[in-house]
């Protein structure tokens, strides 16, 4: 298939094409990302359970009293706190390691803009998706990249919130800061966690319950999605993959001197290694 002939929005496929595409698997997430995702999920589960159990004073409490009482009776407040801080520290260290070793692939600003930066398609997508939900439009959704707009929003929230949660957690855990700073740190810690939890509602539903996104859920286990799903839901990313495949084929075949069109099709993008992930997706 000639890259030039790849349309900007997905074309309607034949049934045969669809069946064929459904059989093929493309790598969406690096195994490191898969591991990090579940590590994060586990940490959040423990931290939320312990954290909600710790804030027991009536004025500050988020979880209901029966919960905080149950947790403190079962484990003791001091042990809850010790676990919360210990796991928190492990979490920070793991992320720092990822941040150091994976800086080029995950944290570099070019990568961030490319993977989770919102473009015009994303804003359109958000508008149309909301209206679709309310059954107030019949427009088609614009094509999305490696991550759709909703996933990008959640990613942005998490990227903003996690450093806040980590830093404020450190301020509270290490008793070297002035009390006013500690008080604000607690406030920010709770608000940031609250924001992530709201985002988490959507993320968990979309990832685990919403049927259309089932392949996405499995991709967080296997790292792979089928090509039809990619074509339908992440067309711009599918397009990039296709172009790379074509370039790769061309490399193997050798350059065609008279085929100037082919050369001009050399992707201006940095050559992406086979299977290298864009970022941790939804």
């Amino acid at each position: 298939m000639n890259a030039k002939s790849l349309p900007l929005i997905p074309a309607t496929l034949t049934l045969d094409q669809m069946r064929e595409m459904q059989q093929r698997q493309i790598k969406k997430h690096h195994v490191a990302i898969v591991l990090l995702h579940w590590f994060n999920a586990l940490v959040w589960f423990i931290e939320l359970s312990t954290g909600l159990g710790l804030i027991s004073a009536p004025a500050f409490r988020i979880a209901p009293e029966w919960y905080t009482t149950m947790m403190t009776n079962a484990f003791g407040a001091v042990n809850l706190l010790r676990l919360h801080i210990a796991i928190g520290m492990v979490w920070i260290i793991v992320f720092l390691v990822y941040g150091v070793f994976g800086y080029r692939d995950y944290l570099h600003h070019e990568v961030l803009i490319r993977e989770i930066g919102l473009d015009r398609d994303d804003f359109e997508w958000l508008r149309i998706r909301t209206l679709l939900l309310l059954k107030r439009t019949k427009e088609a959704l614009p094509p999305q990249g490696n991550y759709n707009a909703g996933q990008k929003l959640f990613a942005l929230l998490v990227y903003a919130a996690l450093p806040i949660i980590a830093l404020t957690g450190l301020v509270m855990a290490f008793h070297v800061f002035p009390p006013s700073l500690v008080a604000w740190a607690m406030l920010l810690h709770l608000v940031a966690v609250g924001m992530v939890v709201s985002g988490l509602m959507v993320h968990a539903y979309m990832g685990a319950v919403f049927p259309e996104e089932k392949p996405a859920f499995f991709s967080m286990i296997t790292g792979m999605v089928n090509e039809l799903y990619a074509y339908r839901h992440h067309y711009k990313w599918w397009k990039e993959i296709k172009e790379e495949e074509r370039l790769w084929e061309q490399e193997l075949e050798g350059p065609k001197l008279d085929d100037t069109s082919a050369r001009s099709e050399v992707s201006p993008l940095k050559p992406r290694e086979e299977g290298s992930p864009a970022d941790n997706g939804l």
Partner: protein, 243 residues
Amino acid sequence: MARYAMVIDTERCVGCQSCTVACKSEWDVPEGFARTRVRQTGVRGTYPKLMTTFHVSQCNNCDKPTCVPACPTGSTHQAEDGTVRVNRQLCIGCGSCVAACPYGARFVNPVIGRVDKCDFCSPRLQAGVQPACVETCPAKAKIFGNLEDRSSDVYRLVYREGAVRSETSGLRIGPNVYYAGKEEMLELEMSSFLPGEPRTVPAAWVWTALAKKFVYLAVGATFLGQAVAFFHQLSSGEKQFEE
């Protein structure tokens, strides 16, 4: 179990600060801070009819403390013997309780980064020993005991001899440090050192008044949103991906 209380006999007290130093020594209180302190009222009257006296204050281990509900981590708590204690392992040092105390009895200890205050020497009480300040006072001006023990000196001083509390019409939280002495001197002392207002630190106010509601709203709304979508999905039976 017990209801510990202290009575300060102003007639006896000479303002020598032995209690302050004994306490500092016992509990490693850093310079510039004190768990118990002695202040002098100004000199009242005109020469030569003058009056002055001393006011010893510390945490009152109140019946209805304003500091306990102010503590977000539950580290500040009221024990069964009435003493209000700070669990250092839970305290994060946010200072909410410091602002909430109308007697200014608490402080954030800069050495340990946590809140510190008098707790009637709880560890000593558990070992059957008097609080350090009571033990050392040369004038024997600090009387300590269990108000539930009818034969105790504190019972007599409080319930039979009318020892007074540092309270105002607007603040009656049951402080358990009482004051005894000559009426005129007590009046001078109490009026010179009135309790203040319990306050909330700005961060805590923002949380309880605004942010908590906002978080509940956000989480609730997203949860509801997803619940609606879920039911919508069930009812309308969204097209499965493979058809």
